[in-house]
Structures are given as C-alpha cells and as structure tokens.
Symmetry: C2
Subunit: 110 residues, 2 copies
DNA sequence: CGTCTTGCCTAGATGTTCTAGGGGAAAGAA
DNA sequence: TTCTTTCCCCTAGAACATCTAGGCAAGACG
C-alpha cells in the first residue's frame, strides 16, 4: 500500500504557484516540479491541474506569459508575477495563515 | 468591506467534524456551531455543507446517528464517533499535519 | 395568535482538481 | 539512421466537495 490519498488541498494551488513564481519567472513544468521538490514530495501537482490553473491566473491578471527556451533547449512558456499577482500572493498568504491557525485551534481543543 | 472570501478549506470538513465529535455526541446543528466558535468565527460551516457531509460520513461508518432531544427541548439527531471514526480521525489528523507542514515549507522557501 | 429561533433537509449551481488521454521536439541510445 | 526517452504543452470529461437558496416542523415567547 502506498502513502494513500490527499495530495493537494483544494484551494491552495493558486497560492503555491504564486509563491513559486515570486522568486522569478519559470515555465509551467518547472513550477510543478519545484512545488513537489520544496514540499519534500508531499505536494504533487498534476499537469491536468497545473495548466488550467495557470490559465485562470493569467486571465485574472496575476501572472503573465511569454514563450522562450528552457534550460534544456526546449520551447517553453515562462510565467511571471504581475503587480496584481504580488498583491494576490500577499492576500492568499494571509488567508492561508488565518485558516491554518483556525483549523489548528479546532484540532487542539480538548 | 468585510473579511472577504475563503471560509472553508475543501477537504478539511470531515476532519473538523470528526474532531468535534471526539469529545462526545452532538447534534448536527451544534457541530457546526462549535466549529465556528472554536475557530474564532473563521470557519463557518453552512448547513448545506454540513448535512450532506454527515450523511457521507455515516455511510462510511465513521459516525452513528440517533434521534433525541436537544438542550432546548427540540427534536435533534445526535451523532457519535464509531471505532472506525476514531481511526479515521487519527489518519486525517496525520494527513493534515503532513500537508500543512508541506505547504508551510513551500511558503517559507525564499 | 404571530413571530422568532432551533433544527433538519434537499436540489442544483459552482468551482477545483484529477484522469486519461494527445502531440511535438530535443537528446541519447542502438 | 532509427528508436526510445525525456521534456514540455495542452484538453475534454469525470469526480467531488462546498455553497446558494430555498423549504419544513415544532417549541419558545410576546
């Protein structure tokens, strides 16, 4: 039996992507890989979740896309945070901390 | 402007209910109220989410229901944790801690 | 009697993520 | 050369949880 279910917490993908892009532009494939690496392989972003999410975020103006070449000389679409994206990152970080604290509160109540 | 969006984190409702019932049987309405209170009004469980969730959990054998009278002398359905429910609570708590830690890891990466 | 509160319930909409595909192009092996 | 692997992008539809927006019954309280 593997580690079983519960990869991604619904509603946190935007935040994870925004944060991952905060350090500088990355292409989509790389965004997913970094989230997985930095979470010690706990969070796995499927491509079927990743790309639609990137489009939604682009439509909302949080990120901007530009075609380029990857470090492996492949055609790749690079995403970078917009000003609105940075603001969104701040907001979502605050919400996460608030909700996370709230859940912890409930779990700690004897 | 109010506190805006993001009440409940999708996927955490089962855990919150299980934990709330761990201290003893409660009726549905009360479960929602306690989650809200204990989270300092951050987590609000709508009734349209609550009851379907309770049914799912009952079907899975995590909780058991019994009709009774509330402290206000109203007809109410009391839910209590089964043995399987306690096991599930342990599992979901572990998953929550793992995922929460993972997200925090990503958010803390410079 | 009328209204408020408690408490349970449901159908349908909404939104996110996953499953399960497909495809092209560079790199490396045979 | 050809074959296979890896990288990188993309999409349609299913699955699932939560919310919206209602409805209903009965006790409390004026």
């Amino acid at each position: 039996m593997p580690t079983t279910k519960a990869e991604l917490l619904q509603g946190t993908l935007d935040l994870l992507i925004l944060k991952t892009l905060a350090a500088g532009p990355l292409h989509g494939y790389d965004v997913a890989r970094r989230i997985q690496q930095r979470s010690d392989d706990v969070l796995v972003v499927e491509e079927g979740s990743l790309y639609p999410c990137l489009y939604r975020m682009e439509e909302k103006g949080w990120i901007a896309a530009a075609w380029g070449k990857s470090e492996n000389n492949r055609r790749a679409k690079f995403y970078s945070l917009t000003r609105a994206g940075r603001k969104q990152l701040e907001e979502e970080t605050a919400i996460w901390e608030r909700v996370c604290r709230a859940i912890t509160l409930v779990l700690e109540t004897a």
